[in-house]
Subunit: 353 residues, 2 copies
């Protein structure tokens, strides 16, 4: 009897709660390990479960998510990440399906993710309706996941970025990130991909819109879709116009000259060429070191981005600040105070609270 271990001498209740804690710990270990093992053995159900965890907004899942991502990290970073944008109606789904099928024929595994912060409100304008990529959905080599929901672009983008890591650990060779051609989503997606592709239509008359919004500046390739039937000639003309527009921009440090292609996602014409262009890009940017450098820069960018969003959010969501900010805004409206004095007052209040 003298050899019983110390824990059994504890009062019953404490002992029980210790056991419960141990069980919970065990369950957690098993659960995350299970998901992780599933992911690296390319089990799609496990990958889905992992992404669901990543997308969870519940505080209690946060530590688990981090654990899972850190386990996956050494297995990640091995894909090519392609961002695809274009206004609604340009044929993004059909294009992604056509490109995805070409890749699968070449023995690649393809994951399609999305960034669309509006999807909560609109009910998912992109990838929500998987039937639009019917043949890709049926393929075992493809994994398609709609945009995570959320009101802030920062939150949605973070979840997609983390999902990329899981998909890479699950052995997907090409990760396609789709986004809608509105707002800041394109900048966010550009900051998480290796190759950024702008999908266009001929004669849409929005050539200047892309310049205005800085999208053309980000594009590694402009692909003019629906170059079929009567449209072929117009697509060729548009190609020349965009080539001219691209000359406005200096060549970046990658030494890559953005290219303009035409294709028809419907007839599959020109899709193969898009992939060849991506491979060409990869070759150049891998050999001159830009590929690695860019990924590291992107990670650093996301670090700072996340910090700054968090600083703002914890300031503005502070209950005392909320009230005080509203008072200061009133005082500004009445010309009683300068914005700089009001800012100082609020910052001091925040520091002392």
């Amino acid at each position: 009897m003298e050899h019983r271990d110390k824990s059994s001498k504890l009062p019953h209740s404490t002992n029980k709660s210790a056991i419960d804690r141990f069980r919970k710990l065990q369950q957690k270990e098993i659960s995350i390990s299970d998901i992780f093992e599933g992911i690296i053995t390319q089990n799609t159900a496990a990958l889905s479960k992992g992404i669901t965890l990543v997308e969870s907004t519940q505080q209690k899942h946060s530590a688990k998510t981090q654990e899972l991502i850190e386990k996956c990290l050494p297995h990640a970073n091995k894909s090519i990440r392609i961002g695809i944008t274009g206004v609604p109606g340009v044929g993004k789904s059909t294009f992604i399906e056509a490109l995805g099928n070409v890749l699968i024929e070449k023995g690649k595994k393809v994951a399609v993710l999305a960034v669309d912060p509006s999807s909560t409100i609109s009910g998912g304008s992109i990838l929500g309706d998987k039937t639009r990529m019917e043949s890709l959905v049926r393929s075992k080599e493809a994994f398609i996941r709609p945009s995570p929901s959320g009101n802030s672009l920062g939150g949605v983008a973070q979840k997609t970025r983390e999902s990329i890591i899981l998909c890479e650990a699950a052995g997907y060779d090409v990760i396609i990130i789709e986004t809608v051609g509105v707002g800041q989503s394109e900048t966010a997606v550009h900051s998480m991909v290796d190759f950024f592709l702008l999908l266009k239509l001929a004669g849409a008359g929005d050539e200047l819109q892309g310049i205005k919004r800085g999208i053309i500046e980000m594009a590694d390739a402009i692909v003019i879709n629906k170059a079929d039937g009567d449209n072929v000639k117009r697509a060729r003309e548009a190609k020349n116009q965009f080539k001219k527009a691209l000359h406005l921009y200096p060549i970046g440090e990658n030494a890559w000259t953005p290219q303009v292609l035409t294709c028809s996602a419907l007839t599959k014409n020109g899709i193969e060429e898009v992939w060849e262009l991506v491979l060409n890009y990869l070759e150049i940017s891998a050999s001159n070191g830009y590929f690695e450098k860019n990924r590291t820069e992107q990670n650093k960018f996301w670090l700072l981005q996340t910090i700054e969003e968090q600083l703002k959010s914890s300031f503005y969501n502070h209950p005392e600040i909320k009230k005080a900010l509203s008072d200061q805004l009133d005082a500004i409206q009445k010309h009683q105070i300068t914005p700089f004095t009001a800012a100082k007052y609020l910052l001091d209040k925040h520091k002392n609270s």
Copy 2:
């Protein structure tokens, strides 16, 4: 002896320090009051002194500056603020001088300020050389002040915004804010003026640059300068091109359609028309309430802007964070950690320090 006041019972040293404090307080009161009285009685030397105080980076001046600005505030807000931008060589100084002289002939008092964060390095690319506005400098009705120096646009812009208040309290009817056509300075100036004017040259071939950089979107008027001699025809052509470009943009809530004019700052041709355009704008935006609304929105914008800059600066300049951030960036470079985990670590560290 029983009637002596309490303070004289204090030990000599305390009493002396109390007197010193009182004297300093008095000096401070007198000094700020002097400057303030000088400003509202339109004394240029006092205004210069006040702006020097505003521009001071010394911590001890900060409270004084706030006091002065708050005193001036009820006397401010009565001018029209005009932002003027354009690339180097477009003739900003000559244009501002020509416009300033037209205004002075009409009995207006004109202050010219500037925002140029690069001026510390470049030695003041704008307004630094006052000889470029010779006749304006000599006029009693004009006040010209070069850009405050500083490395951060936020800091430079804040100082200029505060100087506007002092100039308005000193009775200047028109405040012209000049900025260079590079970087984010134009956005900052746009956020502190009522009317934003983009100065252009004919045939400079940079029409698309303005669209690309979002400057045309901000402009209430585009004025094509140097429309003289052989250049008149080209200027007229450029005018038509810019008119077309402006059609790309939807009319804002102000119901104002941005206008394109030609002028010659050299021959003074068309300068009067620029001022008429500004008056026309004022009439419309005052009658529909946009003028007031815009100023309030600008103040609110600067409140949030200042808060966010301060939050970032106090985070990144924290000694512990500086070291830790550098370590986390290393870990990111080595793919040992995700940017999100690193951000969480740093934010937790900051919270607990």
